[in-house]
């Protein structure tokens, strides 16, 4: 029973980490069709932001709270720079964006190594996140609870942004039919840029969350990027709810399979499940219905 509960929690927790990493991608990939391989490095940038902020402020609790918005801005600015300098001219070639952003990710990783050194750095977790909360004899690490809450808050904020604000309306309109949206007077140019800011900013937030879990080094992002893309692909393009479901399902599957086998086998089995699932639903869990043939 205790194992059942803790494994379910581990799965949800793994899912929430995946979700944080994938949320921004769901936005940028969904809206613009841009396959941003550098998203992982934006996560890394967020993690290093937390490191820098902690070194400046000293106090672990305060610096965590300051890092979250700071990393959002750092990630967002990186995203805007990428969009303005490279991706702007490539919207008609979505596959090529994958290669260009892969190049960006290589450069950012090497840059991180040259600036912060090759050795991993540590961000201390605040005292109020240290240790577990024990319920029914099962220990739930506080950091994981915090990340779970953070992911849910991020989803809630993003979902209400999309549902209730004028910006959200513009974004949804552009996702569903770009040219129709443009002819209705929506500046897709500006919408794209804002979307990229928000999506990349979320990567920065994910980076801060990851500092609570593991090491901060230049290859932090590479560990998450492929899984994050799988979440988006399974969830279906242009859908937040799809990404949420996909992240939690994959997270729980990973931790359950890992419990009865090994971590390596679990990774491979989860991938096989994804391929099989795409056979059934090539467009993911949820599809935005359009009249486009493609």
């Amino acid at each position: 029973m205790e194992i059942l509960l803790s494994q379910l929690f581990n799965g949800l927790s793994g899912g929430s980490i995946l979700l944080l990493a994938a949320l921004g991608l769901a936005l940028t990939f969904g809206q613009m069709g841009v396959i941003n391989m550098a998203h992982g490095e934006f996560i890394m940038a967020g993690a290093y932001t937390a490191y820098v902020v902690q070194n400046l402020l000293g106090d672990a609790g305060l610096s965590l709270l300051v890092s979250l918005p700071a990393a959002f801005v750092v990630g967002g600015l990186l995203g805007i720079a990428l969009e303005a300098l490279l991706l702007r001219r490539m919207y008609h070639r979505p596959l090529d964006t994958l290669l260009v952003t892969f190049g960006v990710s290589l450069v950012l990783q090497q840059l991180a190594r040259d600036v912060f050194g090759t050795a991993g750095v540590d961000v201390a977790a605040p005292a109020w996140l240290s240790g577990p909360v024990v319920v029914f004899g099962t220990a739930f690490p506080k950091t994981r609870l915090f990340i779970l809450a953070l992911a849910l808050v991020a989803v809630a904020v993003l979902a209400s942004l999309l549902a209730f604000t004028p910006l959200g309306r513009r974004i949804r309109a552009t996702v569903q039919n770009r040219s129709l949206a443009e002819s209705s007077g929506i500046s897709s140019r500006r919408t794209d840029r804002v979307t990229f800011f928000v999506g990349s900013g979320l990567a920065g937030v994910a980076g801060v969350a990851l500092t609570l879990m593991g090491s901060i080094s230049s290859n932090l992002g590479t560990a998450y990027i492929v899984d994050a893309f799988l979440v988006v692909v399974v969830g279906g393009i242009g859908q937040i709810k799809g990404a949420v479901i996909a992240a939690f399902v994959l997270g729980v599957a990973q931790s359950w399979i890992e419990y009865s086998t090994t971590a390596s086998i679990a990774k491979v089995v989860v991938l096989a499940i994804v391929v099989a699932f795409l056979q059934l639903r090539p467009q993911g869990i949820f599809v935005v219905r359009t009249r486009s043939l493609v």
Binding site: F29, I35, H92, S105, V226, K267, L271
Partner: protein, 369 residues
């Protein structure tokens, strides 16, 4: 001479082949030390993969991010055979296996004791894997970004599987320390030279096959699938079959390249087949010009050579260079260096608006989504 007439002119083609053969088979062995010649042999293996990528990606619009899988299949099949052939006759168990476990040789190694089975498997296994995968994805019209991400995830899973089973695959070390190649000692420089010659011949043969496919009716259908898949479907063709065939040809080329890589380089490890090397294989193709016949070959050789010589001087410089190449070439020169001439001509013409601009022959590219 422009590219199109080069591709079609019969004598130019034959002449080109003879010239390449002379350069690679006579000039290079005469000028290079055995060590550098071995490196060139390795570059040729990458060039073989590039020929296939040029076909699948440049012509077919399929962004194949997982060619490392097929390269790895060919390489590991060859490596398994070489390890089994080297194994002491008394036990028949390769050295690394005897060291780490006492379970003996896994059953799926056994077929590769036979040299003939190995040679057939090097072609058939990657082809079969690609056909299965291609049909599964293309029939369900999974394409564009979805296909790219899936093929990438596949490369990741392949590497994880290899690393996770050290008893049977050598784990992160991979397989190395091969003494012989079908009975011939790999320590003998004469045999290593022969291996190089085989690589040259294989590459030239692949270029010939690719050229034949490109100028054939099939080649036109493939390009049509890339540019307007729905229209091809409406015309009564099956785009899934057309694309799967190109994907399978590319897979076989990668498999053969991997099989030759093993005796030439002397090691195969998961590091050579995972996500990063798989994408790394693309950069040469992009630089050379993905839609052309020779662009991918020359690009791949040039990039591999640049990596070796640059990393000898500046350890971290290569990562920057590779990243910048991806960014700049793909974003600003999608046709690769092969399109540099026409692009420059286009600029010149734009600078002199009085002269009616001649239509440039940059191979068209679409995102393929």
């Amino acid at each position: 001479m422009n590219l199109k007439s080069f591709l079609t002119g019969r004598w130019a083609v034959v002449g080109g082949f003879v010239l390449a053969a002379v350069l690679l088979l006579v000039v290079a062995p005469a000028l290079l030390t055995p060590f550098r010649l071995g490196l060139l042999g390795k570059y040729l293996c990458f060039a073989m993969v590039a020929v296939g990528i040029g076909l699948a990606w440049g012509r077919g619009g399929m962004l194949v991010l997982g060619q490392g899988v097929f390269f790895g299949l060919g390489a590991y099949i060859m490596a398994m055979h070489l390890k089994l052939a080297d194994a002491p006759a008394s036990t028949g168990v390769p050295d690394f296996m005897a060291l780490i476990s006492s379970d003996g040789v896994p059953f799926w190694w056994e077929p590769f004791r036979s040299g003939a089975v190995t040679l057939v498997a090097i072609v058939v296994v990657p082809a079969l894997a690609a056909v299965l995968l291609g049909l599964a994805t293309f029939r369900r019209r999974v394409r564009g970004a979805y296909f790219a991400i899936l093929s990438q995830a596949l490369a990741a899973a392949f590497a994880i599987l290899l690393i996770g089973n050290p008893r049977s695959t050598g784990g992160s070390t991979g397989l190395n320390n091969f003494k012989g190649f079908f009975g011939f000692s790999l320590r003998d420089p004469a045999n290593r030279l022969t291996l190089y010659v085989i690589a040259v011949v294989a590459l030239l043969a692949m270029v010939a096959v690719a050229r034949q496919l490109m100028v054939s009716r099939y080649g036109e259908l493939l390009v049509a699938c890339r540019d307007a898949e729905e229209r091809v479907r409406f015309l009564g063709y099956d785009p899934a079959a057309i694309k799967t065939f190109a994907y399978a040809v590319a897979a076989v080329m990668a498999g053969v390249a991997g099989a030759l890589f093993v005796p030439i380089v002397g090691i195969i490890s998961p590091n050579d087949v995972g996500i990063v090397p798989s994408i790394g294989l693309l950069i040469g193709v992009a630089i050379g010009g993905r839609t052309t016949l020779l662009g991918p070959v020359l690009g791949a050789i040039a990039v591999a050579w640049a990596e070796t010589s640059l990393s000898e001087r500046f350890p971290s410089g290569w990562t920057y260079a590779q990243g910048l190449l991806f960014m700049l070439v793909v974003a600003f020169l999608p046709g690769g260096l092969a399109s540099l001439g026409p692009v420059l001509r286009g600029w010149r013409d734009r600078l002199r608006p009085a002269v009616p601009a001649e239509k440039t022959s940059v191979p068209s590219l679409s995102g393929g989504s």
